[in-house]
Symmetry: C2
Subunit: 331 residues, 2 copies
């Protein structure tokens, strides 16, 4: 009987029929509009409760054109940063009483586009996209406003963290620890504006100080970094600055496996302050994005309250994976 197997939903018509009144009156009673007697209003509410009436979002949305909801499309749920994005948006959505739908691009640009179209067709009031690397979004012509959360260098960008500043913070941190020869570990593959800005921010500072930097590009996964650095010879390098926590985690694994200790022999800095960086040993020095603010600004954009792109500051979180450079320590 009461198995949660889905019983027919009651509609306003059902309430109206049960009370011998018109559907419009039911609507008015429930929404508190129009003129009607206190008695009728009471009866309607009573009947609605009795029939466990729940207004059909479909019918309402079709009529009003608003769904009080938005969709967010992410590249991959399993990457902790994106999961945290989803959480931050879910909380921001709750503050505004918006319903949120999350979708995963599943590693396919086609799927990403399909999701955007599908969500628009579902009547979402706005679409938030954290784009996959290599996304081309120019000719989409969606029927709903699209908020891109990417990097300041993306002309379609609505909100983003200041990745360039983050890169600069890492660089200054390492310089302050005496590092003079640094490996930059970035993402390879299709263009990522985020990756590019992070590296640019690092390079600007390192170059200005005359610090030697090398660069290695790998797929942004811990496996790739672990394997890619397995045979790597540090030479004079005393620190690794990674553009993503996953790369830093992989780097630590590779170094540890070779008998090098972090941070005594070599420092490693990550980026994003994901939970990964907190559970590995040593815990990662990293850059923290203010995801809550990013999410709230993105929704403000989505609801038409802002127009100019926003740039959200990031902060450095120093932990155990970075320390004074060996030479500096000895000297």
């Amino acid at each position: 009987m009461d198995k949660p197997a889905g019983h027919a939903a009651a509609s306003m018509q059902d309430i109206a029929d049960a009370l011998g009144i018109s559907r419009a009156t039911v609507s008015n009673a429930l929404r508190g509009k129009g003129r009607l007697s206190e008695e009728t209003r009471r009866q309607v509410h009573e009947k609605a409760a009795e029939l466990r009436f729940s207004p059909s979002g479909l019918g309402r949305a079709l009529r009003t054109g608003r769904t009080q909801s938005f969709a967010i499309i992410l590249p991959d749920f399993r990457m902790p940063l994106f999961a945290e994005f989803a959480r931050a948006f879910a909380m921001a959505a709750r503050k505004r009483d918006l319903a949120m739908t999350v979708a995963d691009s599943l590693g396919s640009l086609e799927m990403q586009t399909e999701h955007l179209r599908d969500m628009a067709a579902r009547g979402m009031d706005a679409l938030v996209l954290v784009p996959m690397r290599g996304s081309r979004l120019e000719g989409l012509a969606l029927s709903r406003p699209l908020m891109v959360v990417d990097a300041a260098s993306n002309p379609l960008n609505a909100v983003s963290s200041d990745h360039r500043q983050g890169g600069a913070l890492v660089a200054r941190h390492l310089i302050g620890l005496g590092h003079r020869d640094v490996l930059l570990l970035g993402a390879s593959g299709q263009d990522s504006r985020v990756n590019a800005l992070r590296l640019q921010g690092m390079r600007e500072v390192f170059d200005a100080q005359g610090i030697t930097t090398r660069h290695m590009a790998l797929p942004p996964t811990h496996e790739a970094a672990r394997d890619g650095l397995a045979g790597w010879n540090p030479g004079p390098v005393t620190a690794i600055a990674a553009a993503y926590d996953a790369l830093a985690v992989g780097a630590v694994m590779a170094l540890t496996a070779r008998g090098l200790s972090v941070p005594q022999d070599i420092s490693v800095a990550g980026f994003d302050d994901t939970v990964w960086g907190r559970i590995v040993a040593p815990a990662l020095t990293t850059i923290r994005q203010d995801l809550q603010t990013v999410a709230e600004l993105a929704l403000a954009h989505a609801m038409g309250e802002r127009t100019a792109p926003d740039l959200v500051p990031v902060t450095l979180v120093p932990r155990c994976s970075t320390a004074a450079a060996p030479s500096a320590r000895k000297g």
Copy 2:
């Protein structure tokens, strides 16, 4: 102009008007139903493409009563197991050409219920719930079928992994390594059927072999385990069997901090084969759920293809965090 700021969507009526035909004919042409000339069909498709027509999911869903979509409600995106659940369901959804909506309960049972109602009101064809601990789902009376993915002991359960078997696998693994005194690390707080079954599976095997077990209950987070075991004295215990990877990760952190080495001094086993267990050192011996199968069976249930609850086998993934018991090694 072509800013992705949402231009008005074209409807079937727009196509009909542009061609001077009736809306029904447009519908027939696009859906391949009814009788109409090849010429008309061509014109309609042409115009549809030209106007970038995309059928309104709202209108269609309202009419047909089906949305070809389902919702999945998860306790917390940030926990890697749930993120992997989301991924597995997303892939299963794609196989069936179903759209998927994900929601996060945000740590609140009320929110969980609210999501269920909201998703039902949005016309989702089915609801999949991975319940928070302490969920009471009996009197919900949702208007859509609800598939609960929990544990075999939950009467509402539709599909679940065989957590009891998983517990047994861990126990047998540790016994095989010579451990005779084991700490079971479980989740405290509101009832979790999953936690209970995992521990039960372990105890059944340990008890049958006359192995001494102790039990500690902690909130299922790595911080709680780390702090909870900080002052713990192992005594004769040579192995820790945790009901969740997060607990195992925290245990490793605590032991390492105290100068004990895993697995030389003490073995630690996790549960769920989350990515956390792969990035920590040592990598965790753990139980792997077949999430893909769980997801596919859940959708089969949701689409009415199955009725009896399903129990999906799990497998042991031996890694570096477990080894022969010190005594066994010496002996």
